[in-house]
């Protein structure tokens, strides 16, 4: 890999711009798409690789090319700078998520409790509108306080977020569903909320609950039967 290609690839990653690295396997010649104009078959493969987040092999004029997508990281938005969030943040980062914690309560959302991650202190609906969850975003609400969780869930439900999870018992969730129904959300939309949040691994401690949440996020992203989605899924980022 030439220094120029490496620098361009790293610049695209720093700018969170999706690019595909195209490598001719016979001699190692490389370029980036869409930065470099390439023949149609390669461009189509690059586009598909980025869309599906899956590498592709293409033969062009009898020569094999490797098409390697470099999408920006998946995002996880955690609402509630609580104890479970402290455990979930490093786990999600290790799994490759860019994590943002939203909590207007400044006593909770401190850099001491969440070193080195993006903290947002705005009200949760303003924060969620600004963050604009997309099909590569997971949203997890953990405040257990309707004043904070509900506005965040309202925005999440109007987005293509591939995962929405909310902390709270079945009883808490039933009340939440009633409130969000009142706010105009359909039964099918509300079925997108995974609650009680997380895979059922009988988690007890904060790190165990964090593990169950991350496991459910991964199960949903990868289309595992363990993901308990009952409503038609929005376009899930592959």
């Amino acid at each position: 890999m030439t220094p120029e290609v490496l620098a361009a690839l790293q610049a695209a990653q720093a700018a969170k711009r999706p690019v595909a690295l195209l490598t001719r396997l016979t001699d190692g010649h490389q370029c980036l798409w869409p930065d470099t104009a390439v023949p149609g078959a390669l461009a189509e493969a690059a586009q598909a690789a980025l869309r599906d987040d899956a590498a592709q092999n293409v033969t062009l004029d009898g020569e094999p090319w490797f098409v390697h997508p470099h999408n920006p990281p998946l995002r996880m938005i955690i609402v509630g700078a609580v104890h479970i969030a402290q455990a979930l943040v490093p786990m999600a980062q290790t799994a490759g998520f860019a994590v943002t914690v939203v909590d207007p309560r400044r006593a909770w959302a401190t850099a001491d409790r969440f070193p080195g991650i993006t903290l947002i202190h705005e009200w949760t609906d303003d924060a969620m509108l600004a963050l604009a969850p997309d099909a590569r975003t997971a949203v997890v609400t953990l405040t257990h306080d309707p004043k904070l969780d509900d506005p965040a869930l309202d925005i999440a439900l109007k987005s293509d977020a591939f995962y929405i999870g909310a902390l709270g018992s079945r009883r808490t969730h039933a009340k939440r569903v009633a409130r969000l129904t009142e706010a105009g959300h359909s039964e099918a939309a509300l079925a997108r909320i995974n609650a009680p949040v997380g895979l059922n691994i009988e988690a007890v401690t904060a790190p165990e609950i964090a593990l169950s949440i991350l496991a459910e996020v991964v199960a949903t992203r990868r289309g595992s039967p363990l993901a308990r989605r009952t409503a038609p899924a929005p376009a899930v980022a592959a």
Partner: protein
């Protein structure tokens, strides 16, 4: 709002960042990338292993069964500058040597960071 900081170098984009850091620090570095898999290969196409001339490793291209052979090829590529396309599989003698216990087949592209 504070800037996010990557705390880990666990996923594949970070392997590239690690390799670039080594290169910037003056090391000779090669990058191995899984380009095609068949059967039960543990790491998907696009998975990367960075190797430095001083013997540092970051990332992976398998569950650990071919890393040694790939690192050997990487050292060769560091010396010659020529990329290599390695083929590991049931029918491959080197794969038998290193023991591809997963029973899968894969191709690994090895290149030097120039």
């Amino acid at each position: 709002m504070s800037e996010p900081v990557s705390r880990t170098h666990s996923h594949d984009d970070d392997v590239l960042a690690t390799a670039a850091d080594w290169r910037a620090a003056g090391e000779t570095v090669a990058l191995a990338t899984v380009v095609e898999t068949w059967g039960s290969s543990p790491r998907p196409a696009g998975s990367r292993l960075a190797v430095s001339a001083s013997g540092k490793l970051a990332g992976s291209v398998s569950g650990g069964c071919i890393e040694g052979a790939v690192a050997d090829a990487a050292k060769e590529t560091m010396q010659t500058g020529a990329p290599q396309l390695l083929d590991f599989g049931i029918s491959d003698e080197r794969a038998w040597e290193v023991g591809l216990a997963c029973g899968g087949k894969l191709k690994v592209f090895v290149e030097k960071l120039s």
